[in-house]
Amino acid sequence: MKSLRIVADLVQTGPPEELDPQIASNRRRQATAALVVALIVLLIVAGLTTPSFLTFENLLVVIRNASVTGIVALGMSYVTISGNLFALSAEELSILSACIFGWLMRANFGLSLSLVVTLLLSGGGGAVQGGIIALGADPIITTLAFGGFFRGLASVVSQNQNILLGSDAAEWLGTGRPLGVPTQSWAFIILTLVAWFVLQRTRFGRLLLLSGANRVAGTASGLRIGQAALLGLTLLGFCCGITGIFAAAQFGQAVANLFQGLNFDVIAAILVGGIALRGGQGSPIQAALGAVFISVLQNFMLLHDFTSGWRTTVVGILVVVATCGFHLLQRRRA
């Protein structure tokens, strides 16, 4: 045990030091700039080393994938910034939304009604989680539970089979490219701007930031802290719904393992984007950039014949390094 003590002394020899947020914030801005640079470098490297990277079809795939991860990451960023860590149910809610949408379309409810109902239900799924968390439940356990619940529900709705939409009404939604840009990406861009605006410029956004910065101080100041959790998770629910709808529309069917690994990619996007896990700081733009980076990275690895296992391992290493890295950067050394 003595050797343990030596190791411990080398690394952390006192109570965890206080965060120095000014330094942390400066470093975060630097980290975001570094991320943009890294992204550009990655794009250049990918373009030079991978002949099939800069093709039209491939870039389309990259942009669409970035949008899928990105839209959910935007919603997740609200959850993280409000101090609720992560929602471990994003992937499952997206799948459920896709299944619900597919089921409604197949049952001939028509496009508009299917859209509305799906979005209402997905938002509702987020709201229920948010409400329970607002009452004081642990965010990780709650969303873990709902994740399992949603997954099971999705299997029930789909009878564990693929749901064929049965009509072409949604095809434009899934595969259309107004002005050459896929619909999903339009949604991604618009949602990014909206999310940024709401966080920076609205009263609700301010509530979100304060809630994440110091929940207890928020309550002491008379703020309705519960609203932050409730609405943040509702928005995440909507984002999952949107993503689910797009995917179902794009493929013409809802498949059970549609979003395999989405939880991983979204979490990686948030962390790589530099949003602090303790909450109270950050911007959806960071999440969006992170999603783009992850998507490009995934694509790059795919084109270089990385197996799915290696791609996942790389993402895992990235997340571990990013969390430890930010944690160490934020600790002020005495």
């Binding site: 109570p15 990780i140 799915s308 296992g309």
Partner: protein, 325 residues
């Protein structure tokens, strides 16, 4: 909690478990037969063993999200090297998983990083590692070796098999460790009040590493054992293990804040869960409904605990050392 309060709490949980049992027992005559009990025990082994590990980290005030992925990767490794023999492969797997757990505990304790945050990364990484080692395939045992596995399915006293005995041993050993050793009590200390324990002179790194080594080793044991028994390991398996283990622990009275809980409670939670799951299965519900049921059960537990916490907090406000939120 005082001893009396603990016993009352366990009794209430046990009563709930019995109710669940009775709900299904009336419809399933098979529950009472030795075969039925044996199946029940064997079916509980995976979640039971892993839940003990998750429970220990929860008592320490932390949470290990990576248990499912670690079980998967250990199962895959055990299958890949199965030609050295069933028991040696099992041993290697468990040692590997224990080492991984020890490293996680070391990093989390030494860096002071939130274990939830850290293990999200390792959750992803181990899953990828499992896929890599298994070459994206299901790893199966060579047919020649299948008979070796039979040793795991023998019956003792009509109801026990080596693996269910193994589970009982795990519960016993960890339970005794937590209750009657200094190192076990240190784990309760760092969970029950991290800064207070530290101020009292309790070393934080040792119990942290022990807790995560435990959860790692047991996740590995569960994964390897199940894979060997099935004769195959799939890298994408054990994906709902975390949910089941968390539900088991919370139903068993392990507090998320740390410092509270014991293996008897975990056992009660385990069988409550198993009664529900096997009961539903026997009634004809398709397997994919399991997640639905477990998720719903955990939500229910969360809500009940939430109401209890709010009531406790309202009462605690009537004390000197009360805080704002």
């Amino acid at each position: 909690m005082s001893r009396r309060d603990t016993l009352i709490d366990l009794a209430v949980r046990a009563a709930f478990m019995v109710i669940i049992y009775l709900v299904f027992a009336f419809q399933l005559p098979n529950y009472h037969t030795p075969n039925g009990i044996a199946a029940l025990l064997d079916g509980a082994v995976l979640v039971g063993i892993v839940s003990v590990g998750v429970g220990v980290t929860m008592i320490a005030g932390e949470f290990d999200l990576s248990v499912g992925s670690l079980a998967a990767v250990t199962g895959v490794i055990a299958m890949e090297i199965i030609n050295i023999g069933v028991l040696p492969a099992l041993l290697v797997g468990v040692l590997f998983a224990a080492a991984v757990g020890a490293i996680q505990g070391l990093v989390i304790g030494a860096l002071g990083i939130n274990s939830l945050v850290f293990t999200i990364g390792t959750l992803i990484g181990f899953r990828g590692l499992a896929m890599v080692i298994a070459h994206e395939n299901t790893v199966t045992m060579p047919i020649e070796q299948l008979p070796d596995v039979d040793v795991l399915t023998q019956r003792f006293l009509g109801v026990f098999s080596p693996i269910s005995i193994g589970m009982i041993v795990v519960f016993g050993v960890v339970g005794l460790f937590l209750r009657y050793t200094r190192w076990g009590r240190e784990i309760y200390a760092i969970g029950g009040g991290r800064s207070e324990a530290r101020a009292a002179g309790v070393p934080v790194l040792r119990p942290m590493m022990i807790a995560f080594t435990c959860s790692g080793a047991l996740a590995g044991l569960g994964g390897a054992l199940l894979s060997i028994r099935l004769g195959s390991a799939t890298p994408l398996g054990f994906d709902s293990l975390l949910l089941s283990a968390a539900t088991t622990c919370l139903m068993g009275g392990i507090a998320l804040e740390g410092g509270i809980g014991n293996v008897i409670g975990i056992a009660i939670g385990l069988f409550t869960l198993r009664f529900l799951v096997t009961g539903m299965g026997a009634l004809g519900a398709p397997y994919y409904v399991q997640n639905l049921a477990i998720g719903a059960l955990l939500i229910l537990v969360v809500l009940i605990q939430l109401m209890a916490t709010r009531r406790r907090r309202r009462q605690a406000r009537a004390q000197l050392s009360v805080r704002i939120a």
